[in-house]
């Protein structure tokens, strides 16, 4: 009986062994392979300014420069520009007043002598549209960038520095950037009249020379009307960005009495130094007089006619603002 079972088990083992050999044992598999490497490219770019788009803005004359964006990487990309500005005064007035036109050029060195052509982008430095396009590896694109002043009404002397940042992108995560900057300056023209009253905005009284003697105080007095050439007549003589404010006696001008805060304004001989030099900044229809020597501002702190005008630390207050009332 036991032998029967052993024989049966041996038989089943043989069956299962042969049966499990399966169909595959008679097929051959031939292996081969592809062994390789795949490299990735890289993104890089430069932005240069072959001709500066900075300069001095005067009247309607344009200042024209050029920028060049170059794909220095190995992958094609899309470029886009953005502009930020900074000004000396902190005001956006000049950036807003300057109109800008940009157009592609094959000759950036010749931009100053060319006029806008083809597709142009225009705006102001405060709101300039993006320049966009695609660049193959090693390719470059140049733009002429032309600035010009529109209306200068109420515009004060200032400088603005537009920065053009270009970004080259490939895919959603690869980018490179570069930027260029230039400074544009504007000098407000001197008032065209010869003689002015300096009328304080806060007190509505006029700066008045108390005596023709050197060192006489400049006092706050009611403005004479009709205006005549008297102790309230001043002439602005501009030299560069500064002016001398002279009195009827041509050798005498408004000066500081001391290089400190809250010191009286006096008359002094105009050749005596920077204590008589003033930068005159226009803000709307008013002007502020900042002494070159002390860096302080002419002010009428009086509450009634009579006291001397002072030279105080500058701050944006009507007591330091004057209107120029033409006399003749």
């Amino acid at each position: 009986m036991i032998r029967h079972r052993v024989a049966t088990i041996i038989g089943l083992v043989i069956v299962l062994t042969l049966g499990s050999a399966g169909a595959g044992h008679a097929f051959w598999a031939a292996p081969a392979s592809v062994s390789g490497t795949v490299a990735t490219k890289a993104i890089a770019m430069t932005e240069t300014m072959p001709v500066s788009y900075g300069g001095t803005l005067s009247g309607t004359a344009a200042v024209t420069g050029a920028i060049t964006i170059t794909n220095t990487g190995s992958v094609a990309g899309t470029y886009s520009t953005a502009v930020t500005t900074a000004s000396t005064s902190g005001s956006a007035a000049l950036a807003t007043a300057v109109t800008v036109v940009a157009w592609q050029t094959a000759n950036p060195a010749g931009c100053a002598a060319s006029s806008p052509t083809g597709t142009t982008a225009s705006g102001t430095w405060a709101n300039f549209p993006r320049l966009t396009g695609t660049l193959a590896p090693a390719a470059a694109v140049s733009y002429c960038v032309q600035s010009a002043l529109g209306s200068t009404s109420g515009l004060s002397s200032d400088t603005v520095t537009p920065t053009i940042t270009a970004v080259l992108s490939a895919g959603t995560n690869w980018s490179a950037s570069a930027q260029v900057s230039a400074t544009l300056s504007y000098t407000a023209p001197a008032p065209s009249a010869t003689w002015y009253q300096l009328k304080n905005v806060a007190t509505q009284r006029c700066a008045t020379v108390s005596s023709t003697a050197t060192g006489a105080a400049i006092v706050s007095a009611d403005c004479s009307s009709p205006a005549t050439l008297n102790g309230q007549a001043f002439k602005l003589s501009r030299s560069g960005t500064t002016s001398i404010v002279t009195y009827l006696v041509p050798t005498l001008g408004i000066a500081i009495s001391s290089n400190g805060n809250n010191k009286p304004a006096i008359t002094a001989v105009t050749t005596s130094g920077s204590g008589q030099l003033w930068t005159i900044a226009q803000s709307g229809t008013y002007y502020a007089f900042t002494n070159v020597d002390s860096g302080r501002c002419l002010a009428d702190d009086s509450t009634s006619a009579g006291p001397a005008l002072m030279v105080d630390n500058c701050w944006p207050n009507p007591s330091q603002q004057f209107s120029l009332e033409p006399i003749q």
Partner: protein, 182 residues
């Protein structure tokens, strides 16, 4: 005693019958009946080459985001039996660059008429991540001595991270030709 021997004998007969029936495919290959006199019997073989070698190292152009590179693979059945072709696995190099780049790579393997048909943009065939890539389309049968051309296309994802710039990924794609009945 005698019954035991009978049981063993029956079991062996059953085993042989079942075994032969289970191997019917290959059994059928040798199922002819003829008289061979003084002949030499040579075993069959399966072998394939890719671009003329067992291991091909094709050149692939560099890739930027959203870009693809292609290379034709000419497969020749150099064995003595027909084979069915399939990519059975793809491994990536273990270096840091390969591991960084590989997740952004996609492979597409497309049958083409000849090498000139291997161009960027093919979508037929099998597509999948390069790492672990295998063919999912129907295997290609290749008769003894025949050849076929496959177009291998590798694409870098548009969303490839910035850190993979200027790197390279090594890979090995295993192609297997499995014998089939003629």
């Amino acid at each position: 005693m005698r019954s035991a021997m009978i049981a063993v004998f029956v079991s062996c007969i059953v085993a042989i019958i079942v075994a032969l029936s289970a191997t019917a495919g290959s059994y059928a290959l040798w199922n002819g009946t003829a008289t061979v006199s003084g002949a030499t019997i040579t075993a069959g073989s399966s072998a394939i080459t890719i671009n003329g070698a067992a291991t091909a190292s094709p050149a692939l152009g560099a890739l930027g985001p959203g870009e693809s590179a292609v290379t034709p693979l000419t497969i020749v059945n150099t064995g003595s039996t027909p084979v069915s072709l399939a990519v059975t696995g793809t491994t990536i190099g273990t270096d840091a660059a390969s591991l960084a780049v590989a997740p952004s790579l996609t492979a597409t393997l497309t049958p083409v008429a000849d090498a000139t048909g291997c161009v960027v943009g093919l979508t037929a065939g099998s597509t999948g991540a390069l790492s672990g890539f295998t063919t999912t389309a129907s295997p290609i049968s290749l008769a003894k001595g025949a050849s076929t051309t496959l177009c291998l296309q590798l694409a870098l994802a548009t969303s490839a991270p910035s850190v993979v710039q200027g790197k390279s990924a090594a890979f090995t794609m295993a192609l297997t030709g499995t014998q089939v009945a003629p």
